[in-house]
Symmetry: C2
Subunit: 475 residues, 2 copies
């Protein structure tokens, strides 16, 4: 254990070691940056997807799936967009032995796959809004160092695409997406801040982009998703138009909402500790692990009680795993701590005789629950665990930000800085140089920490249009 | 309606028109054979997947996901296999602007993606059996005419891959897969026959292949899945070996089990009629549609009752859709019949006043259910509907086979023929010529219709090794 990297002192190494030890992915696949979803990792991802699906369908979106391959001709219709992705796409050029007439792109994102079809689906204002989403894999020919879940070449991706009657309706959809994401983030116990990116850092082709950022400590930030307002930037080249109530032809206003497996990386990065991963119950492949402690003559009684307990919890919808392998209990404790299981139930001879269990939660709490109302008490322990996990994450979140009042304060900051910015690119670039990172943009809605009104711009001293902005070092 | 192709007289055109009218797919995507999963089609597929996941996980399989892209070097390790797929794969040759060092294949199936990693996962007999499955898209550069769900270039695919200690254990896994498939097929109301394919038609690289065939009428058959026993054919080139209890190194014996979106096509093809699709409740995106019939002064009462009914059924877990759009009831009846919804609940003023509903099922039954125990009665109507659908399919299945006792009887048969075959390829080829189709192989287990012992081979007259075999015209 002495060689294991510590979260506080070697964050990136700690992250890589934690993902590996939890058994969430296998990086030994023979294409760099394309990893194998192991059974444990896949199940975590499946639970993550369930939360996303639940929230986006509550917000009126319906599932679709568009093809993986996009013809070059469609891909190149929106100029800004293609410029943003050109260097990063995989090209399919051959089918069997023959070169393809039109090369195909492996989708890096699906605007250019969906929008030619949207132009067929939408005719009238009665066809609007169109709110569809898909969960698919996307592909980017990454040239930077890849890292499991955070930067990979085949990406498990969630993308909502919507068409709205006008700019205001699209703005409202952006708001609705932020609300849906807040519900997801609560389920993942991930406090976040929505940040409107500066012009030079918006999504290629977008009118504006709101990124969903989380702090990772040490002044680092991670973008875990984004919501974009496209105005008519895509609907014009792709001819997505409708007849309004007055019989006029109008272009739709579009939005997109993107999330990915990066969320799983964020959950490991935010909640994990030096013992391993720590999962919120929403995502944990096993919410509860039962470890029977067999000794001497009680093996049969303990085994029977443990198996019965597994059945009872499973019948209530708890994702429970009975670890009846041949290892020592201590080895099992270690394994399931590393894997981030929320609750461990220890069942020995004393517990089996009394019908009770010893509950150890992944945040370190330990107590004995008696036989009366045992299932309800375990449900309660899961809820309490989630609350404590969220509160711990919220405390870390709040302490990850601090105010900078002068440009000289930025330096190699250990926190994400909140500062006044006039909105000019030149001042933004000066801030980026000073912090050796990025101007993330202006937070939407509530600020991550309580502050007063913004002062003058940190760079030029202009007071009139200055807004609070965030600057940090994105991973 | 006069122009609509009829199932009995123009099967293929009928199939295409039925899929289209039900709104299950959109074929206008600009790559031929790569279609869009519409919201309705996607939801049918999602339910189909749920059944597959339920049954395969009950049989001890766990989910994984391997990358979409396979390096040419791995893809070419097993010679037979690559020969079977060489002409049908899409090649990724470029990333960004640069040619890739090693070209990548879009998986046509995942043996060559998984097995290099299995060789790392498996060390000891304690790691066996390894039973994993994935649901992913696969890609085939089809040169034949494409048809939605039945023959496409991007295929929604289910594949189980297992590693077993020896040949007998692998044979047992084949049996377990056939049992799991029988449960799935029951849920889809699809009678089928497992057929061991002749040597010349087995999966590339397999020791033997059992195909899951269904008759489609007119002597046509459709393979809706397959189970393969690989023996050591892949474990040797991919070096998947383990140490047995005696400390000896042994190669694993492998099996695979493949299903695809073709199942959805089969459901449409088997159950559909001249009015449109007909879904079993297991797969129906909407199991129940409520159509309020508003007239004069009762609109509010009817609307309230219909909305309440939707809530009550939804709370019981029924997939129910309240169609409160502005169309006439007749147009709604037509639409949901075309779309294959099992039950339609008509709610007018009389029903709302009495708390009753008029139930029309997709097989033509109609009755009124009173207010007492209404939800239970609707559950019962769904169960009865499924039984009737299955019985209807079973009747059609049984009448789709007939015995041929002489080669001259084969001709352009309107049924799939059951005949005696000695097992020799030359005799098999003669049968294929005579029927202008395929010798499908020898059924595993029970025969689709009751027959006695096989007679002498239809071609050579040999009696010793003759077995019942099936011959038909695969779609």
């Amino acid at each position: 254990m002495g060689d294991k990297p510590q979260k506080a002192t070697a964050f990136v190494d700690w992250y890589l070691a934690t993902v590996e030890a939890a058994g969430l992915t296998d990086k030994r696949y023979p294409v760099k940056g394309m990893n194998v979803w192991t059974p444990y990792g896949f199940r975590a991802r499946r639970e993550l997807d369930r939360v996303m699906v639940r929230e986006i369908e509550s917000a009126g979106s319906v599932p679709v799936e568009f093809p993986t391959l996009i013809p070059q001709t469609e891909f190149q219709k929106e100029g800004e967009h293609i410029k943003g992705f050109d260097a990063q796409v995989y090209w399919v050029t051959k089918g069997g032995e023959s070169p393809l007439d039109v090369p195909l792109v492996l989708r890096p994102t699906s605007e250019t796959a969906m929008y030619p079809v949207f132009s067929l689906w939408i005719r009238s204002h009665k066809d609007l809004p169109l709110n569809v989403y898909q969960i698919v894999n996307t592909f980017r020919y990454e040239t930077k160092t890849t890292r499991p879940f955070l930067r990979v070449r085949e990406i498990h991706f969630f993308e909502e695409h919507t068409c709205q009657v006008d700019e205001a309706a699209a703005t409202e959809r952006v708001r609705s997406n932020l609300e849906a994401f807040a519900a997801m983030a609560k389920a993942f116990a991930l406090p976040f801040v929505p940040v409107r990116r500066p012009e030079w850092d918006k999504f290629p082709g977008a009118f504006y982009s709101v990124a969903l950022d989380i702090p990772l400590g040490g002044g680092r930030t991670l973008q875990i998703g984004s919501v974009h307002h496209y105005r008519e930037n895509f609907s014009r080249p792709y001819q997505i138009a409708y007849e309004d109530r007055e019989g006029e032809q109008r272009y739709v206003h579009q939005t997109t909402f993107g999330l990915s497996e990066r969320l799983l990386g964020a959950i490991v990065a935010v909640h994990g500790d030096d013992k391993g991963a720590v999962f919120p119950t929403s995502v944990a492949p096993h919410q509860v692990v039962i470890v029977p402690i067999l000794a001497g003559g009680n093996a049969e009684m303990v085994g029977t009680f443990a198996a019965g307990l597994e059945r009872r919890l499973s019948a209530r919808g708890v994702r429970v795993h009975l670890d009846d392998s041949e290892e020592r209990p201590g080895a099992k404790y270690y394994r399931w701590e590393t894997a981030g299981v929320p609750l461990r139930l220890e069942v020995g001879g004393r517990e089996a005789a009394a019908g009770s269990v010893t509950v150890v939660d992944r945040l370190g709490g330990k107590r004995t629950l008696g036989p009366a109302g045992l299932e309800e008490a375990i449900d309660g322990a899961l809820r309490t665990y989630d609350q404590q996990l969220y509160e711990r994450a919220l405390t870390a979140f709040r302490s990850a930000f601090s105010i900078a009042r002068r440009l000289e304060e930025l330096g190699a900051s250990e926190t994400v800085r909140l500062l006044s910015w006039c909105g000019k690119e030149s001042c933004g670039r000066a801030i980026e140089t000073a912090i050796d990172g990025s101007l993330l943009g202006t937070p939407e809605g509530e600020l991550p920490i309580a502050v007063g009104a913004p002062g003058p711009c940190l760079v030029c001293g202009e007071s009139n249009d200055a807004l609070w902005a965030l600057a940090g070092r994105p991973m």
